[in-house]
């Protein structure tokens, strides 16, 4: 099955929405340190292999039954790559803010929020799309291919058990 694993996409969606809310708060109240903290959580999550703010889902929303699991077979690696990429951009944004480049800094933060919104609400993961293209070009370290019948980067729907 191309090494696909069952992945709970609800956890990723909650993580992305949390990221958008925190980025918005950081911008509203002019808190570059919060952008730095968001970047750290995203990058640590990418290294460890969990959605950065997935704990909001695992510890709160799922036990309360407010968000139901949405498990579909998918590759974990493109999502980790996408999160790492997003975390790097937010980190670059935070560094730009500390360097006094407000427009560039907040522009990068908002760009990551926009891409997270596209993933959460539109089901398209731009970072995963980049990963799959790098795999197509046989770049070392990028070995996974999209699930059969799924456009690279699109969220797969659950497959029926046959």
């Amino acid at each position: 099955m191309n090494g696909l694993k069952p992945i709970d996409h609800s956890e990723m969606v909650v993580s992305q929405i949390t990221l958008i809310l925190l980025n918005t708060l950081a911008f509203l109240f002019d808190l570059p340190w919060l952008a730095g903290l968001i970047a750290a959580v995203m990058l640590i999550g990418a290294i460890v292999g969990f959605p950065g703010f997935g704990f909001v889902y695992r510890l709160l929303l799922k036990p309360l039954g407010w968000v139901k699991p949405h498990v579909a077979p998918d590759n974990a690696e493109p999502h980790r790559f996408a999160q790492g990429l997003g975390g790097t951009f937010v980190l670059a944004g935070a560094l730009a803010l500390w360097a006094g480049l407000a427009s560039l800094g907040w522009g990068l933060v908002w760009m990551v929020s926009a891409l997270a919104a596209l993933n959460a609400f539109g089901g398209f993961c731009v970072g995963c799309f980049v990963y799959y293209w790098l795999a197509r070009w046989k770049v070392p370290g990028f070995t996974k291919h999209p699930p059969a019948g799924v456009f690279p980067g699109m969220r797969p729907v659950e497959r029926s058990k046959k």
Binding site: G149, V157, S160
Partner: protein, 139 residues
Amino acid sequence: MTPELSERLAWTVLIVATGALGYLLFNRFLLRRAEDKVFRLAAYRTGLPAIVYFTTPTCVPCKTTQRPILEQLQAAYGQWLQVIEIDASAHPDLAHEWGVMTVPTTFVLDAQGRPRYINQGVVSAAKLLQQLELEDYSI
């Protein structure tokens, strides 16, 4: 509220509104794209409003929430409404053609078969009735 916070709030509203507008335009594009697909659905009968419901066997919110809502609507408005259920995992070609990105997804069609609304995720009975323009008909 300080002027700086007001300015940031205005920017936030502008950016979020732009995103929401983009989302609405994208949904409109999906509806336009679905227009010529309706009459290729074998189960579709002309002259009745319809809900085209994309689901999968393993979708939990479909089973626990969306299907009961649709069954309730069908029981109450059966003669004025048709519900066409499509298993997106068994018919990935149809899911792709209709631009389905998640399940449940419901398309609301008017009596002429024009796709009028798309709902990505679970949608309430009240909203579906409003979209079908059936809220004035008592159950």
